[in-house]
Amino acid sequence: MDLKNPVEQAVILLRSRLCNPNFIFTLFSDSPDSNYSKLKYIISSSVTESCNNSVLLLGPRGCGKLAVLELVLEDLLREFPDMISVIKLNGLLHSDDNCALKEIARQLCLEHQLAFSKMASSDENSQFLIAMLRECGLAHKTVLFVLDEFDLFAQGKQRLLYSLLDAMQSVTSQAVVIGVSCRLDADQLLEKRVRSRFSHRKLLFLPPSREDLQRLLEHALLLPSGSDLPHEFVANFNSNLLNIFADKKFKDIMDTVFNTDSTFKQVLTFLFSALCHLDLKCGFLSVENFKDALSNIQRQPKLECLKDCSILELYILVCMKRLEVREHETCNFNSIMKEYKSIHDSFQTTDYYARDVCRRAFEHLLQRELISFLDNRGHGHSIEFRPVKLLISWQELYQGLKSYGSCPAILYKLVERETTT
């Protein structure tokens, strides 16, 4: 196990870097007006000045909100060792108030080495919370509440938010509430009484710029010289990588990635995929790996689905498209069969199958979610009468037919004709 191939070791090292968001964001924590420094300033000032505060971190998914927060918390726990305790809640898990109170009590007990009873009722938990806040306030210890998926806490009656923010209004408590959300209007979701207790500090996290992306590439993929990999290998690997970065083809690939979706998550997925394509025998990355990675992340699921369909299923889709073009408001399986028969009569196709077979192909299409029922209420009706709609557009259908390979020519003609009429 110890005598691993250096290439394998390097791959493992790089993969663990890419899967660890904390590593990536240490890069962006140095400049003074970055979100990292602003957040650190807010929290550390409320710790040192013993006051209460609240802040919202907003931004699209995959832009590093939680990662930056983790970095800030790590640093603060090192700077002020006994003065901070952190409670982490998640809207997906704890949006129910009782659940949330139980979790808060559990984490507080864990941190302060108290015994936690699972049988405690929510009243007892909330009294415990208030008592702990008071005690921590008297001991000059700040409690940080991290509320992930903050918009999910703002559903319903917002009792938890109100009790937290209300508890912060008293003089004896020292708490900071940090909300993290991907909805940019998360503070508009708050009730009036909650919003009035909330300090409207918001930090906006944005996807990186092109220059930041370049720095990220180098930071993530260049092997460190201090690791226990052989020096020569590290030097060769890094120089090869720098050559790739200077290559024009690579720059085009990076431009494509940046233009489609430039969030950190997407870029990291791209780098991860490129790393997976690394040829272990050759040992170095190449531009081909990055090209393969680009096609991996740029998927066209509906097109793939269409290529998986059988020819009968394509017929059914084309019939539905023709009905749609003729502006029938709704179509169901019976009207599709009528259209299918009329196509067969006018063009004498070889693909005319019995109704049962067509119905099963219709069900396959429903399973693949290329078509769906218009409403979910009609469970009493049999499948032949429920209205259905197409979930793909004409362009996608046409592209799918073109890339199908053995598609009968009649289908092209039928789809093309409808566009001109």
Binding site: R61, R106, D351, E369, S382
Partner: protein, 535 residues
């Protein structure tokens, strides 16, 4: 995974005696079932090599190699992966066999068997905490868990436990036992059939929760793999979720299908010549392996009929002869691709009858025979016919169809069809196509039923003389009729439509096609066409 040994009770003991002898059985059982260990998180008893893996899945070499590169070398963290593709494309079996080849420990939960969040969570926790449901713990899970928050806490504990054991194993490497131990310090969680979660009640919170599980846990020693029939874009969520890494399994091409179907055949040459003829037309209908193999089975039997020796290798002459014999059977059998035979014995006897009578099925004829291939009691048949008539005919015409003489005088009145009436007929037909069968209240159904059965009594050629006695007097509707109605509802021949808001009684709707009702009416010799309203 772990082998379940059946308890030592024979079938003939009654429950009481088993309870009494529990103590005696218990001690023998407890030494029969050994406790689970981390080694049981592996798949399959013996490892397989890469060549075996690739050769057992024809056409999937690219996917196997790519998936293995996604998993990476031992102890390398991975992004959560989302494997998707059509059904019966081999996703589950390939993933499990890759783990068998790599000998890495994993926990598998399928959303088909775990049909609610609680069962899903408890199944995963049971496997991680190496808990087996048995008689001694009353077949209960190790912990009760139905909320995601509890699940995350317990999962963290369980995962740390398993990873600790694996790390201990890794340090003891080099001993003879290490050959049977799992590789590495990582544990993988596999969620299968994830598309079924979309139909759960709490799917709007459970799905984002599962996709965000990796970020919530923040444990790099855990790998997540999701398997689903549909791609990620069919998973709708309000505020989105963290998207896992997508991995597509395309459907098999024709060549791959040929290799797969040939794999387990005894006489590969014969079957290959069969596939030359048959595979392409069938692939135009469906490319799923399971459907193709069931559809091709009876056709292959027919193909082999003229051959005396099934082990023969056909030459060109024989191939042409066999093809000639098979040709006229291909087209009708295409139209029966998805038909499930009603039973092997009845199918075999019927085919022999057909051969004796020399029936050759025509291309345009109805795919099935003119008889019902299941049994229904006479009153159920009449109930079905009444339901069909009630759905098809408008209620206002009931009086003219079912007057007190028990017959109908539905003479087709020849009227000159003007353009407007033709147009009206067309729109009415279109409406029938779109709207479907109408609903009717229970009273109307019973009234029609009564009328029909009184007609049937008076007609002399009703099947089975004994039926007259069971119909009773013309005014009597027994409770057996209502029971028949509920069993017809269970069989989905009649469904409950919406209820009228004023009256509040439920309305029913008949679901059967006209062909089937014709068959039923023919079997009781009922003149259906006289009662059917034709616009």
């Amino acid at each position: 995974m772990s082998s379940e040994e059946s308890p030592q009770i024979t079938r003939r003991t009654t429950r009481l005696s088993a309870a009494n002898s529990e103590n005696a059985v218990d001690s023998s059982k407890s030494c029969a079932l050994k406790p689970l260990s981390v080694n049981d998180l592996l798949y399959g008893n013996s490892p397989i090599s890469l060549e075996e893996l690739i050769s057992s899945f024809p056409g999937r070499r690219g996917q196997i190699i790519e998936l293995m590169s996604l998993l990476g070398p031992v102890n390398s963290p991975m992004f959560p992966t989302f494997v998707y593709g059509g059904s019966s494309t081999g996703k589950t079996s390939i993933v499990l066999n890759i783990f068998r080849h790599l000998r890495r420990p994993f926990v598998y939960a399928s959303c088909i068997t775990c049909y609610s969040p609680r069962i899903l969570f408890e199944s995963i926790l049971n496997q991680l905490m190496l808990h087996r449901k048995s008689d001694s713990n009353g077949y209960s899970s190790i912990k009760r868990c139905d909320k995601p928050s509890d699940f995350v806490n317990l999962l963290r504990e369980a995962l740390s436990g398993v990873i600790g054991t694996l790390q201990g194993n890794a340090e003891k490497a080099g001993s003879k036992k290490a050959a049977r131990w799992p590789n590495g310090k990582m544990v993988y969680l596999i969620f299968d059939s994830l598309n079924l979660v979309k139909e759960w009640e709490k799917s709007s919170t459970i799905l984002p929760f599962l996709f965000n599980l990796y970020d919530i846990l923040r444990m790099p020693e855990v790998g997540l793999i999701f398997i689903s029939n549909n791609s990620l874009d069919t998973y709708y969520a309000d505020t989105g979720f963290v998207e896992p890494f997508p991995f597509h399994f395309p459907d098999y091409s024709e060549d791959d299908l040929r290799q797969i179907l040939l794999k387990h055949q005894v006489n590969k040459n014969l079957y290959s010549s069969f596939l030359d003829v048959v595979l392409r037309p069938f692939c135009r209908i469906t490319r799923r392996v399971n459907e193709l193999s069931t559809a091709l089975l009876p056709l292959f039997k027919k193909y082999c009929e003229p051959l005396g020796d099934l082990g023969a290798v056909p030459n060109e002459d024989m191939k042409r002869k066999l093809y000639g014999h098979l040709q006229r059977h291909i087209a009708p059998s295409l139209n029966e691709t998805f038909r499930v035979s009603a039973g092997l014995t009845s199918g075999a006897s019927r085919s022999k009858d057909n051969e004796r009578k020399g029936i050759v099925k025509k291309l345009e004829a109805c795919t099935s025979s003119n008889e019902l291939d299941f049994h229904m009691s006479t009153s159920a048949k009449f109930l079905l016919i009444s339901a069909f008539l009630a759905s098809r005919n408008p209620a206002t015409l009931d009086a003219s169809f079912f007057d007190s003489t028990g017959g109908s005088d539905n003479r087709k009145r020849k009227r000159k069809s003007s353009a407007k009436s033709l147009e009206q007929k067309e729109t009415a037909e279109q409406e029938l196509l779109m709207k479907g069968p109408g609903t009717f209240p229970l009273e109307r159904l019973l009234a029609i039923f009564q009328c029909l059965t009184s007609v049937a009594e008076y007609s002399p050629d009703v099947e089975g003389q004994g039926n007259r006695a069971t119909m009773g007097d013309s005014g009597y509707i027994g409770s057996h009729v209502l029971l028949q109605l509920s069993s017809l509802c269970n069989a989905n021949f009649i469904t409950k439509g919406g209820s009228c808001p004023l009256e509040g009684s439920t309305r029913y709707r008949s679901n059967v096609s006209e062909d089937m009702v014709l068959k039923v009416a023919r079997s009781v010799k009922f003149p259906l066409s006289k009662y059917l309203y034709r616009r």
